[in-house]
């Protein structure tokens, strides 16, 4: 009986641990924008269920050329893709999900050196 209880406790601790690790502690992009005083409608337009277009992002963040300069230290520069003229910004920078590197789907792990 003690063993069973021990096992259950161990499992509980383990799963709690897994949960802790699984949780991304970084604030999501939308929250960061909100904290900086940028309203939902500033990106989404008047209907918050509308997708965020590249123009919305680039209006504040500058051109792909400028963004490419900021990430030129990366082994593969995601803002200066040899394949795509204008990949959807939100394919990596989704406002409501953790950052993902879209290029990794084909190229494998890509790290930021900085």
């Amino acid at each position: 009986m003690k063993r069973v209880v021990g096992l259950i406790v161990a499992m509980a601790v383990l799963s709690a641990g897994i949960n802790l690790y699984a949780k991304d502690t970084k604030p999501l992009l939308a929250d960061k924008h909100k904290a900086a005083g940028i309203e939902c409608v500033s990106c989404h337009g008047k209907n918050v269920k509308d997708i965020v277009t590249n123009q919305s992002c680039l209006a504040c963040h500058g051109s792909f050329e400028k963004l490419g300069e900021q990430t030129k230290d990366m082994h593969l520069n995601p803002h200066k893709s040899p394949h795509f003229l204008d990949l959807d910004c939100s394919s990596c920078h989704d406002g409501h999900k953790p950052l993902k590197n879209f290029c990794q789907d084909c190229h494998g792990p890509i790290q930021r050196h900085k």
Partner: protein, 506 residues
């Protein structure tokens, strides 16, 4: 009691509506002249041609980017183009057409292919007029100079340069693009296709009504279910080269409104994968070279110069038991690849005579990591043990091959002497050959106007299709002899679909 249950029911309905209101996003409605489903080279060509003809166009694209496979392919087929004339190239439309028909064993749509071949030169002129720079070359030593390789555009490379040129043109012409908005269903009423239902990535339902719809979704190579259902291939063994989300949506939607289909198949090629192997790296590129190939019994099965025709190389390995083979070479083959460069390019991604500068390092790493797909040994018996084939059989194949190399004659498969090199210097290596597919081929039947036809050869009103969603172009194998056939066809069929859709709505 009755009143009570009525109240409960009412409350339930209210709750359901409230929940659906938040869980399900809104519905968006649009109206246009022509909808293009899929923004690859077929869809982009269709969009540009339709917009130039004065139509309002909406392109629905499933991925977060335009171009699909066309970003990664490198050039369209043509014969009797101005570019070939400038190089005094001899091949004629008639010769090419006859060869293509022979290659497909007359199981293909003769009139459709004749039209494509005859118009292929003009198809290149259209691309050039739209800012695409091309240069005709031989894809390999065995194939004619019909492959019009797309020239890079600034930092944008290969097929992406074509996609970019057409994309900029389309934007200039006012074409609307909806990315990450896969079409789900054709709206079919009154015996006519009148629009498309799609879903954007926020979950909004997108309903677009139109006078015509052009399907250009690039086939079904990324759907294991469709490969299993529509072809003879085992989807676990025959894998797509890239994860491009092509799941047969266009073909399925057309079938759902009565379209006929034929010839669903895969454009095979060889490759490898496993611990320590970099996709398109040095070791990978050795899978495209005409070394000594043996099957699981340690026996040769083909003239390995089939490597120069990638689709047929795929066939040769695909028919071996277990769907694999091993390519065997020695240190002099490694030195040759590093110092002189490879005999066979992987398209122009790894061009012919490219020097595999990283090959030695990759070999060291793969061996250190005990790669399941790459082995090194000091003797042929040891290599046989490592790759798990009968030692006696492999030793015999190996001795015979070296004998043929010495005699300059392969009495087994008549391999050309220039590819028949002795394998006896330094270490012996083996890389596993596995079949993959660049795209699926075959699908919807169309007439010469690219109008989708039913089982009675009657066009389905308002519905056109092009590119790798089309059936009737290939027999049992992709016609690599007509190098760039699929790319050239994509552009051509997209344009023709648009031109004919325009005619029908005017």
């Amino acid at each position: 009691m009755r009143t009570y249950s009525k109240i409960v029911r009412l409350a339930l309905i209210v709750v359901t509506i409230a929940v659906s209101g938040s869980a399900y996003a809104a519905e968006r409605k649009f109206s246009t002249d022509i909808i293009v489903i899929g923004g690859g080279s077929t869809g982009m060509s269709a969009a540009v041609a339709a917009a130039e003809g004065g139509a309002k166009v909406i392109v629905l694209e499933k991925n977060a980017f335009l171009g699909g496979s066309s970003n990664f392919a490198e050039g369209p087929f043509a014969v009797e183009s101005e570019l070939q004339r400038a190089k005094s190239y001899h091949l004629t439309k008639d010769e090419a057409y006859k060869h293509i028909m022979e290659f497909g064993h007359y199981k293909t749509d003769g009139p459709l292919l004749r039209q494509f071949v005859n118009d292929s030169g003009e198809n290149m002129a259209w691309l050039q007029a739209h800012g695409v720079q091309l240069d005709p070359i031989h894809i390999s030593v065995t194939e004619p100079m019909v492959w019009h390789v797309i020239q890079n555009r600034g930092h944008i490379i290969h097929g992406s340069a074509l996609v970019t040129a057409l994309q900029l043109k389309a934007k200039e012409l006012g074409v609307s693009f909806m990315l990450r908005t896969p079409a789900k269903k054709l709206i079919y009423s009154g015996n006519k296709v009148t629009g498309v239902e799609a879903v954007d990535h926020k979950g909004n339902k997108v309903i677009v009504s139109a006078k015509s719809v052009i399907i250009a979704t690039g086939g079904f190579g990324n759907s294991k279910e469709k490969i299993k259902e529509w072809t003879k291939f085992d989807p676990e063994a025959f894998k797509p080269t890239l994860p491009l989300n092509k799941t047969g949506d266009g073909i399925q939607m057309a079938k759902d409104v009565g379209a006929d289909t034929e010839g669903e198949n895969l454009m095979l090629h060889l490759g490898t994968e496993g611990t320590g192997i970099i996709p398109l790296g040095g070791i990978w590129t050795m899978t495209w070279q005409p070394n000594l190939w043996v099957n699981k019994y340690g026996e040769r099965f083909v003239d390995e110069a089939v490597a120069f025709s990638f689709a047929q190389a795929g066939n040769a390995v695909a028919r071996q038991r277990g769907y694999f083979a091993w390519s065997i070479f020695d240190d002099s083959a490694v030195d040759f690849a590093v110092e002189k460069g490879v005999d066979n390019g992987v398209g122009v991604i790894v061009p012919v005579t490219a020097k595999l500068k990283t090959l030695r390092e990759e070999i060291k790493n793969a061996v250190a990591a005990n790669s399941e797909s790459f082995k090194a040994a000091d003797s042929i018996e040891e290599l046989a043990r490592q790759i798990g084939v009968p030692a006696e059989a492999l030793a015999k194949s190996y001795a015979n091959y070296n004998q043929y190399a010495e005699n300059h004659y392969d009495k087994q498969f008549a391999k050309e002497h220039r590819w028949l090199k002795p394998i006896n210097k330094g270490k012996l290596y083996a890389v596993k050959l596995l079949p993959y597919h660049f795209v699926s081929i075959g699908g919807i039947r169309v007439n010469g106007n690219m109008a989708v036809i039913d089982k009675n050869d009657k066009p389905i009103n308002g519905l056109y299709a092009g590119g790798c969603d089309i059936g009737g172009l290939y027999g049992d194998t992709y016609t690599l002899w007509a190098s760039g056939h699929a790319y050239g066809w994509a552009v051509y069929s997209g344009r023709m679909a648009a031109v004919n859709a325009l005619k029908a709505i005017k």
